[in-house]
């Protein structure tokens, strides 16, 4: 049994025996080097009440190289890609240290949810939303948490994905329904309106600054 396997086994045991941190690590397939971590969303944040799952891949030269982690659960956060779940966090890249463990890294992810870093974003659109209107951002994040991260959904991924189709796309994009309806009434397809408004960051104080003509121009492109 090589050193990497021994260490990973210990880390899994450590998480299993630690009831206070609420962090879980499960095997995905038969390999101990592909794992699934999960932790509850931190209290007093838009992520409260959600359960967030993380895909963990342990590289060959672990612990001298950082673990690869990305969110399986969709998260609305400036440092997490809303499409792929990729995470922008220094300790997963150049600030990795071999004394960090799976548990401590997952705890770091948890605290990343508490303290977004919009200046070093992974998802530029979400970061823009965060900086223009924090309140509107938080509403959207809460909606995403409810929609994607509530524990009842994670029982079966396919059913969750199917249910997502019926969800309110306007709320997922963090937009006002009235705005979308306004442009949809002009005869543009709803999906396109949502896409353009999201890209232009048509939220909060920005609404006053963006001319209707500009939006129509974008819609006609």
């Amino acid at each position: 049994m090589d050193a990497r396997l021994r260490r990973v086994n210990k880390e899994i045991a450590d998480c299993k025996n630690d009831k206070t941190s609420n962090i879980r690590i499960d095997l995905v397939d038969s390999s101990p080097f592909h794992l699934k971590g999960s932790f509850p969303g931190p209290e007093d944040t838009p992520y409260q009440g959600g359960l967030f799952e993380v895909d963990i891949v342990i590289p060959e030269s672990y612990p001298f190289q950082p673990v690869k982690m990305k969110f399986i659960t969709k998260v609305y956060h400036p440092n997490v890609s809303s499409a792929s779940g990729a995470i922008c966090l220094d300790i997963l890249k150049d600030a990795w240290s071999p004394v960090l463990t799976l548990k401590s890294t997952l705890i770091s992810l948890q605290s990343l949810l508490c303290s977004p870093e919009p200046n070093d974003p992974q998802d530029a659109e979400v970061a823009k939303h965060y900086t223009t209107s924090k309140r509107s951002f938080e509403e959207t994040a809460v909606y995403w948490t409810k929609t994607y991260a509530t524990p009842k959904d994670d029982a079966q991924v396919p059913s969750g994905a199917a249910a997502a189709g019926g969800r309110d796309e306007v709320a997922i994009a963090g937009l006002e329904k009235a705005h979308v309806d306004q442009f949809e009434a002009l005869g543009f397809p709803r999906a396109k309106v949502i896409d353009v408004l999201r890209r232009l960051n048509y939220r909060g104080a920005n609404v006053a600054q963006i001319n209707d003509d500009r939006i129509v121009e974008e819609l006609l492109k």
């Binding site: 045991a13 299993k16 095997l27 101990p32 612990p63 190289q65 950082p66 150049d94 990795w96 240290s97």
Partner: protein, 399 residues
């Protein structure tokens, strides 16, 4: 099913959680004598200048990883391999704890069943004993190392201040092999590939002089540390080698000198020499009684090389697997690609119909027209078929 597998894995693990949850102090104690990198008991523990302790092999491995930026894994202060100091105190603690562990474990689990009132006091006292022993030697050794580095002030501070050039008579450490010598001899020493200068071996006059100078210097300044660092005079640390300055021949000689196999290519030699230096030096950081024999180290080296080779071939196989996948993907979706290309064409060409487009693909392949004439007529038909595939790929990329 998964939980069963987890259970099977966990059964193999010996770690701090073997102790009952109601004795967290014992868990802490068990964790305190483990290396934070490999989470095993310290094997040949060494301390850094910042005082943090790791297995010799682990920290050497960590420093050798380029991404680590030569930082202490715990506190991120700058470290270098030359600053590693064996920590025999910690080594004693580890061996004592290994002996005591089954006994303490037995007591702790027995205590679970018995009355919980009487025992804890006794356990606590034992723990205090142990933890004071943990703290004691490591503290002294860290002060030792600082005082030792105080003694070496010229040698350690000179390379640190990279901005100014030290005086010729300043004693500095060679940045490659960390041998200390007067600054004026450094250049000659480095151009000589850091050749270990010994009095018996005739070498360039400046270097041999530097050796005697160095001996005199260390005799005056740090006679004790010398004795402590190298417990046995027959075994010496392998100095760092700058592989880029060595010719293939020299590299091979170096391996042969150490009694290592010389198979493989240059990259393999370098990797082998690096790994061997790491294993060898880490082994020397252990107490003489606990050291492995050279044969065992050689076996370990071979195992490491085998694992590396296995990993390489596995990666290669995976890469090869991906390629035909691409092709299969292309084949299965060929019809769709054709449709998409057909659908995309009219937009760019204006009013072209689908039929025209299809003809266009077959007859006017822009890049192939240059290739086709150079081949003989018989194969031209084939070329055109390939071209239509190319078009499809192009269409895929565009879309």
């Amino acid at each position: 099913m998964n939980s069963n597998k987890v259970g099977a894995l966990l059964a193999l693990v010996e770690d701090p959680t073997d102790f009952p949850a109601n004795a967290p102090s014992l868990r802490t104690l068990d964790a305190a004598v483990r290396c934070p990198i490999c989470s095993e008991y310290f094997a040949g523990p060494v301390s850094l200048l910042c005082g943090h302790c790791f297995c010799s092999l682990c920290i050497r491995n960590a420093i050798a990883t380029p991404a680590s930026k030569a930082q202490c894994p715990t506190c991120r202060t700058h470290v270098s391999e030359s600053q590693l100091r064996p920590n025999p105190g910690m080594e004693d603690v580890v061996s004592a704890w290994k002996l005591a562990r089954p006994c303490v474990l037995g007591l702790a689990s027995k205590q679970l069943e018995e009355d919980v009132v009487g025992e804890p006091a006794k356990k606590k006292r034992k723990l205090d004993d142990d933890s004071s022993r943990v703290a004691g030697p490591s503290r002294t050794s860290s002060t030792e190392s600082t005082s030792r580095s105080d003694a070496d002030v010229p040698s350690s501070s000179a390379p640190a201040g990279e901005g100014h050039v030290p005086k010729p008579d300043f004693v500095v450490a060679c940045p490659l092999c960390t041998q200390s010598m007067k600054y004026k001899f450094l250049e000659a020493h480095m151009t000589n590939n850091c050749a270990p200068v010994s009095p018996s071996k005739p070498s360039a006059p400046p270097t041999s002089k530097s050796k005697s100078q160095k001996n005199a210097w260390s005799d005056i300044m740090a006679p004790k540390s010398r004795g402590k660092d190298k417990d046995t005079s027959d075994a010496d640390h392998i100095p760092k080698v700058s592989y880029d300055t060595l010719k293939d021949r020299q590299l091979k000689d170096k391996l042969a000198e150490l009694g290592l196999p010389t198979g493989g290519d240059r990259a393999a030699w370098i990797a082998r020499h690096q790994r061997w230096s790491m294993l060898w030096n880490a082994n020397l950081d252990r107490a003489p009684a606990k050291r492995q024999s050279k044969a065992e180290l050689l076996k370990e080296l071979r195992k490491w090389e085998d694992e590396r080779a296995a990993l390489r071939s596995k990666q290669k196989r995976e890469k090869e697997k991906e390629k035909p996948d691409d092709h299969a993907h292309l084949k299965t979706h060929n019809a769709e690609f054709k449709k998409l290309v057909a659908a995309a064409r009219p937009k760019s060409k204006g009013g072209a119909t689908n039929k025209e487009v299809e003809v266009g693909i077959d007859t006017s392949p822009p890049p192939s027209s240059a290739v086709a004439p150079s081949l003989d007529l018989n194969s031209e038909a084939d070329v055109i078929v390939v071209d239509s595939d190319d078009e499809d790929e192009k269409g895929k990329a565009d879309l």
